[in-house]
């Protein structure tokens, strides 16, 4: 019961500090929205935007625009608009309103049929290189296949002529037949873009990701506040005064840790609620799984900060070490950038931090996972919390 009184007292002291309130809630909310907007990605709905100008109007150009580029499988990754003006298409690219412009020049179809050089121009927006690259790749694939087709027709014609199987008078008719068969093929099958999200490589939308990342980072900062408060009480001798009452050292430390835990849990709960209401972040469809993962994360953050407070000797040392630890955990753990862009060595190192496991856990929940999907990450976080609190207990007994 005394531990509870100590925790409640700490919460009351914190809630009366308006600066702490801003740090606790306002800053993380702003960070989530800023970072989520800056790094806005959504792998499950990737689409390149392009404008096409068909100045040729031939069967071949129509085949490209209507059957290849507009085929259902390409349409998933390429949003196409058309215009009749090359100048307008160039302007759209220059203004950044589209990633690329596909310009089919006049005479493209005739040239291709006669074996003369034929060229399609793709204008790329340098600010959307990935999207523009996708457009260029699709067009490139089409032209490569078209070229292969023409070579095949040419070879087939030569073989027919040399074999003498077709009388010279009927050679023209035979070549037309080969071309018609080639043209009658399924052009939309020439290019097929199949998107398959591999297991473990699915990613959550940027805003959702940063809701997790920033929450975890500020969780550590808030837990640091609790640790700082413990050292402040040591400095002001209120902690010593409690120790002169019939209160066991362990009870005092449990109360202080409980206060830190309650503060971080309160912050996390409010951030989850606000990001859900304001930004529509889909934290989880399973409340038990969310509670398990959030609880494990809060315990690990509180444990980490308590350990830092227990190991240092003064408020000044904690003021230097606490934020440094918080930043390292945030940087390494993936709060600042997506874990899947990390190089292999950093990816391996990040697994030493509870933040990485927490991000994995929350990502799994955001992608539709339930309790079973977070058992491992939550277990690792809880294991780390036990380790941190164990070290804290030993150090606190020695230093307080």
């Amino acid at each position: 019961m005394k531990a509870w009184y100590i925790a409640v007292k700490d919460l009351v002291v914190h809630t009366r500090d308006r600066t702490a309130f801003v740090t606790l809630l306002l800053v993380p909310m702003v960070m989530i929205i800023v970072l989520g907007s800056v790094f806005n990605w959504n792998a499950t709905s990737f689409q390149a935007h392009a404008v096409v100008v068909d100045l040729d109007g031939s069967n071949l150009s129509r085949q490209l625009t209507q059957q290849v580029l507009a085929s259902p499988r390409v349409r998933d990754v390429l949003a196409l608009t058309t215009t009749t003006s090359e100048a307008e298409a160039r302007t759209l690219v220059e203004q950044g309103k589209t990633a690329a412009a596909i310009i089919i020049p006049k005479g493209f179809g005739g040239g291709a049929a006669s074996g003369a050089p034929a060229r399609i121009e793709v204008l790329e927006n340098p600010e959307s290189l990935i999207q523009a690259g996708v457009v260029a790749s699709i067009v490139q694939a089409y032209t490569t296949d078209l070229q292969a087709q023409r070579v095949a027709i040419s070879v087939a014609t030569s073989v027919l002529e040399e074999s003498g199987a077709v009388p010279p008078a009927r050679m023209g008719e035979a070549v037309r037949g080969v071309r018609e068969q080639a043209d009658a093929g399924q052009p939309q099958d020439l290019i097929a873009v199949k998107t398959t999200a591999l297991e473990g490589r699915k990613v959550v939308p940027a805003l959702d990701y940063y809701a997790v990342g920033m929450s975890l980072m500020y969780l550590i900062f808030t837990a640091n506040t609790g640790a700082w408060n413990m050292l402040e009480e040591k400095r002001q001798r209120t902690l010593a005064r409690i120790m002169t009452t019939p209160t066991a050292r362990l009870t005092v430390m449990a109360g202080k840790s409980l206060g830190t835990l309650a503060l971080t849990a309160l912050q996390f709960a409010i951030i989850i609620l606000l990001t859900r209401l304001l930004y529509h972040v889909q934290w989880s469809s399973s409340l038990p799984a969310l509670l398990l993962m959030a609880g494990a994360s809060v315990l690990a953050a509180a444990g980490l900060s308590t350990m830092v407070a227990a190991l240092v000797q003064s408020r000044e040392q904690e003021g230097a070490l606490g934020p440094a630890v918080a930043l390292i955990y945030s940087l390494l753990g993936g709060s600042m950038w997506p874990v899947y862009v990390m190089p292999a060595w950093l990816d391996a190192a990040s697994r030493l931090t509870f933040t990485r496991w927490a991000i994995d856990g929350f990502s799994a929940l955001m992608l539709g996972g339930g309790v079973s999907s977070v058992l491992r990450p939550a277990g690792v976080c809880l294991g780390m919390a036990v380790l941190f609190l164990g070290v804290s207990a030993v150090a606190l007994n020695r230093n307080y």
Partner: protein
């Protein structure tokens, strides 16, 4: 004895903070622990209230060993630390309620106890204000109030008036004297000689972690030399003729002259006053001032250590 300190020593590495201290305090007494800063007073009281473990020795409070029955000792003791150990963001009453809970005061008794101590330290009117809006003197009084909450058998006060204004200091000292009249035993540490002389019946003087003198106030004053000093300031310069005349007066042990000043050592300064004034008048000496100074603890400390209490 309510408090017994037995062969107490405390070392921090190579630093000896307290060395073989032995003290015994009967119930109902205000015992003063006097000494300069760094003498070992705070270390001694920290061991008594269970904050520090002794390197050697033991402390017994009301029959309970601080080594073996720490919790039982803490239930008998109220502590007023040197620092203002208060929560500034909480009100005075909230501070008292919190520490009352830590002291295991039953919930049904707590509001009454809080009201009582607020009344004692005269903070009832400001009980609901945040402590960080209090003046220094009010904070000191609240600091004392927390120590009284559990109605302790032994109240330990470690320099409770440091940095306080004279009015608040007097208020605190009077409150403590009244509580002692009601039967509360106190261990009072200070480096202010006047406070210890005002409050304490028994005194121990600590220096470099050791008790260098211990006894009742009268005993210690006798050890200071037992001689009063009568200082006379003359209108004219003193001379050898005057020395001869004054040395012949009854009870005079020695006479020192320096310019216009005369310093006379005697067993009783007050008994010497009448013959001294008559002799000076008879000799035609003009007197500008006259002072009788009894020996005090400062003199004793000076004679024992060669340094002042405030050095």
């Amino acid at each position: 004895m309510l408090l017994e300190i037995r062969n107490l020593s405390k070392r921090f590495g190579t630093l000896v903070a307290v060395q073989n201290v032995n003290l015994a305090i009967p119930a109902g007494e205000i015992f003063g622990l006097l000494g300069p800063n760094g003498a070992g007073k705070t270390t001694t009281v920290s061991i008594v209230c269970g904050l520090l473990s002794p390197t050697e020795g033991d402390v017994i409070v009301d029959g309970h060993s601080v080594l073996r029955e720490s919790m039982a000792v803490r239930r008998q003791v109220g502590v007023v630390p040197q620092e203002l150990a208060l929560y500034g963001a909480l009100s005075g009453r909230e501070n008292l309620v919190f520490f009352g809970r830590m002291q295991e005061i039953p919930a049904r008794l707590l509001p009454g106890r809080v009201d009582a101590v607020l009344n004692i330290v005269q903070l009832t009117d400001r009980q609901n204000d945040r402590v960080d809006t209090y003046s220094g003197g009010m904070k000191r009084r609240l600091n004392v109030a927390i120590g009284l909450l559990n109605q302790p058998k032994l109240l330990i006060l470690d320099e409770p008036t440091v940095g306080v204004d004279p009015q608040s200091r007097n208020s605190i000292l009077e409150t403590l004297r009244e509580l002692n009249r009601q039967g509360m035993t106190m261990l009072y540490t200070s480096h202010y000689m006047e406070e210890v002389e005002f409050l304490c019946s028994h005194i121990a003087i600590l220096d470099h972690g050791r008790v260098i003198a211990d006894g009742s106030q009268e005993e210690l004053q006798r050890r200071a030399g037992g001689r009063d000093i009568v200082s006379v300031q003359l209108a004219d310069e003193a001379d050898e003729a005057l020395r001869t005349r004054l040395t012949a007066l009854p009870g005079v042990e020695s006479v020192e002259l320096r310019d216009h000043a005369v310093r006379i050592a005697t067993a009783s300064g007050h008994a010497l006053l009448a013959p001294l004034v008559a002799a000076l008048a008879d000799d035609g000496r003009g007197v500008t001032s006259l002072e009788v100074k009894e020996p005090n603890l400062e003199d004793l400390f000076l004679s024992l250590t060669g340094t002042s209490l405030r050095d």
